[in-house]
């Protein structure tokens, strides 16, 4: 019961604040002022860094079990994306059996939580030995710039990461020493998991509409009016998180432009610009599709996760999205068409070894195990795509199509990564801007100019 007694404290607060307010205010204000002045006089923030670099020798041969046994009883602390838990549950016991003196302690975080906290954790006095970052300036760039992660070139050459089809997937983890550009330079991270963007389609709806499975953006574009005329939602889109539409934009933009140029722009090459005819056309296409109702109604009010759930329930003919959505779809009812012309796609969050870790060689052995063919098969069995694709076998048609799409785009070299890697605020700049274009509130020209001007604040150029 909410009696008058329950209300009493509120009244007391009221009495105190209204009656003794001036005296308190002056006291508090004075206290704040004095402390602030005192602090401003102190050292600049960041002068006392939390973590200190440990002695980490370069390796010239594969780490042996004896070397790791010499470490004595140690605990390897890991920070991982929640999505890695099924994989870690398989991998950690195998690792602990191979190296019995090492205990692996994994902390899982949701992706949003991970990228918001991992940099500070890596900078703390008890930084995790091994952790996942995220490609781009916001996380990996900050880690490299502050010297918080160990260079992995020696590991890559000893363990042969640079051989085979998976080699190109290391590029986004390569940085210049000052952390100013990525795509080339020193290797700082490794991801065993790939991502590829393509067109998911509802097979029974395609048959009803008399359409073929789409193999390109052109195929998709031709199918959209037919699907719309039949009263279907042609493309299921959930864009309230502001990124899903930028992925479709990226796929359209890559049809008329060299993916290498797009990659260079994302990497921060000052000679590149976003204000290209291809990008203007792509933005206009997005606006046209939106005004034709090809994305259905209210896509800006729908989350991406809700959209994939609806698509899985049979709403919508197509879903343009990444392989990470495949786990939600019934493999018998849905298919996946590759976009060989390029677009969004890269690797999942790379793993980094802390530069302050005393157990770096144990971490190296863990990374080796993460990239093994056995782990690759586990990754595929968990509904995701491994970087190492030699010798893995897909189960079911959808998995096979997705794996084929990955092999095709990696061989064509057309994956461009993600636009939001390029500056820390690109996700909201481009995502919000594209929403405006699609709603017909700004022109495609103004959109590309706005994106370019936000970009050049970071990277210079026109």
């Amino acid at each position: 019961m909410l009696s008058d007694r329950t209300i009493d404290p509120a009244k007391d607060i009221m009495r105190i604040t209204s009656r003794t307010f001036p005296a308190r205010r002056v006291l508090l204000g004075g206290l704040l002022g004095v402390s602030a002045v005192a602090l401003v006089g102190c050292a600049a923030p960041g002068s006392g860094s939390g973590s200190t670099a440990a002695r980490q020798d370069e390796i010239t041969a594969e780490v042996t079990a004896d070397q790791i046994a010499d470490l004595g009883d140690v605990t390897l602390t890991l920070w991982a994306d929640q999505a890695e838990e099924p994989l870690m549950d398989l991998l950690v016991p195998v690792y602990e059996e191979a190296y019995p003196n090492v205990t692996v302690d994994v902390t899982y975080k949701s992706f949003d939580d991970l990228i918001a906290t991992v940099v500070n954790a890596a900078n703390s006095a008890d930084a995790p030995d091994l952790f996942q970052g995220n490609i781009g300036y916001a996380v990996d760039g900050a880690l490299v710039k502050a010297g918080l992660v160990r260079p992995l070139d020696d590991v890559a050459s000893v363990y042969g990461w640079e051989d085979g089809a998976g080699a190109s997937t290391l590029a986004p983890s390569r940085w210049t020493e000052d952390g100013s550009t990525f795509g080339d330079g020193t290797l700082y991270g490794m991801s065993p998991i790939s991502e590829v963007q393509g067109i998911y389609y509802n097979e029974s709806k395609l048959t009803e509409l008399g359409l073929e499975a789409p193999e390109s953006v052109e195929d998709l574009e031709a199918a959209l009016p037919i699907a719309a005329a039949a009263g279907e939602t042609p493309i299921m889109l959930g864009n309230s998180d502001q990124y899903a539409a930028t992925h479709i934009f990226s796929d359209i933009a890559a049809t008329t432009q060299d993916p290498a140029d797009i990659r260079a722009w994302i990497g921060g090459d000052p000679d590149q610009t976003f204000a290209t005819d291809g990008n203007i056309e792509a933005a206009e296409t997005m606006a046209e599709w939106a005004s034709n109702g090809y994305f259905g109604e209210g896509y800006d009010g729908l989350g991406n996760q809700d959209a994939i759930a609806r698509f899985a329930d049979g709403d919508g003919v197509f879903f343009v999205g990444g392989s990470w959505n495949g786990a939600y779809l019934d493999a018998d009812a849905f298919g996946f068409g590759a976009l060989a012309s390029g677009g969004v796609g890269a690797t999942a969050s790379p793993w980094h070894i802390s530069s302050s870790s005393d157990e770096a060689i144990a971490s190296i052995a863990f990374l080796d195990m993460l990239r093994s063919p056995e782990t690759a098969q586990w990754i595929l069995d968990e509904g995701r795509l491994p970087v190492v694709t030699d010798g893995v076998t897909a189960s079911g048609a959808l998995q096979e199509q997705t794996l084929d799409a990955l092999t095709a785009t990696i061989e064509a070299g057309t994956q461009v990564g993600y636009y939001d890697w390029t500056t820390t605020d690109m996700l909201s700049v481009m995502g919000g801007g594209l929403q405006e274009v699609m709603a017909g509130r700004t022109t495609a020209e103004d959109f590309v100019d706005a994106v370019q001007s936000a970009w050049s604040k970071e990277h210079g150029g026109a």
Binding site: K11, G46, V119, L148, S240, G301
Partner: protein, 323 residues
């Protein structure tokens, strides 16, 4: 007699605790009692505030050594057009997060206190639930309710208003009012309970007297209930305005400031600067400005309500009033 006892109830609360002079009552031993709380307050509130103020004069990524930049971050705060737009959104939200909840709370409290409703306790508790729920839960629930094919639109279509139905949170024109409506829903319960508590403290005989003089329900509300609730209205406004101006979680979990920037408020930019852009100096400067703005507006509200206390009924003022 009736008037003075009512006054005492409002002023001192039903517990009728002895009133003390505000300044003369301080002593070192009393300070000892508040020391633990004060310590926590200093460590977890005052110290972080000071660090924020200090950081706001630097360019700082949270990792490498910060560079002093003087007032540059503050200049950026006051010259950035997107922040001006965000501030404008905040002012619109004040209507939804503060003005409307207080109005609805007054109407509900007036009604609930006047009409004898069977199961009143249940209704009071039920109407207070939005205040108890975690704001993330609230945001997720409303995202579903306001979706293009959600229950809100279904209801509109069922009563023949299908042309009004839209994706409330996804439409540039409706997103801000829609986010505002969620805030109204969250806050009115708090206002109502505050006001109900105040009404309980009003002497019933005042209403009887008014009724004998032939006052109607509205007159009664304006002449007795409203003046007696002034302190509660002040508290409700302060809490709601603070909630409105620093509101982040509801907006972030429904629209992320979108579509476009149509629901972006200062706190969204603070979060983005601090945790996505790693521009801690810029974020701190904006946070400091926002804090000062909240203090100023809350101060104005207090001032306004204090001035109006001069026109309060003579009898109440003579007996000490509500200072």
């Amino acid at each position: 007699m009736a008037v003075t006892s009512a006054t005492r109830a409002v002023v001192a609360g039903p517990s009728g605790r002895r009133r003390r002079s505000p300044v003369a009552g301080y002593s070192w031993s009393s300070l000892l009692y508040v020391a633990p709380a004060l310590l926590f307050f200093a460590v977890f509130v005052i110290y972080p505030i000071c660090i924020s103020v200090q950081t706001s004069f630097y360019e700082y990524d949270g990792l490498t050594l910060a560079t002093p930049v003087g007032a540059a971050n503050y200049v950026a705060v006051f010259t950035d057009p997107s922040l001006r737009e965000a501030l404008l959104h905040s002012l619109v939200l004040l209507v939804f997060y503060a003005a409307l909840p207080v109005l609805i709370g007054l109407v509900l409290a007036g009604a609930l206190s006047r009409i004898r409703i069977y199961g009143l306790t249940f209704f009071r508790a039920a109407l207070f639930i939005p205040q108890v729920l975690s704001s993330v839960v609230v945001a997720v629930a409303w995202r579903g309710l306001l979706a293009a094919d959600g229950p809100v639109n279904d209801t509109l279509r069922a009563v023949g208003l299908g042309s009004v139905a839209t994706s409330w949170l996804g439409d540039f024109d409706t997103a801000l009012p829609a986010v505002g409506a969620i805030g109204t829903w969250v806050q009115y319960g708090l206002c109502m309970v505050l006001f109900l508590g105040g009404i309980v403290g009003i002497d019933r005989s005042l209403y009887e007297a008014a009724r004998l003089d032939g006052a109607g329900a509205v007159r009664e509300f304006r002449a007795i209930t409203l003046p007696a609730l002034r302190p509660q209205i002040s508290i409700a406004l302060i809490l709601c305005i603070t909630f409105a101006l620093r509101n982040f979680d509801i907006i972030w979990n429904t629209t992320r400031g979108g579509p476009g920037t149509s629901t972006a408020v200062p706190s969204v930019y603070i979060y983005q600067d601090a945790f996505q852009n790693r521009a801690l100096g810029q974020a701190s400067a904006l946070a400091v400005v926002l804090t000062l703005l909240i203090l100023v507006i809350v101060g104005l509200v207090q001032l306004a309500l204090r001035e109006r206390s001069e026109i309060r009924p003579r009898s109440l003022r003579r007996s000490g009033g509500l200072r």
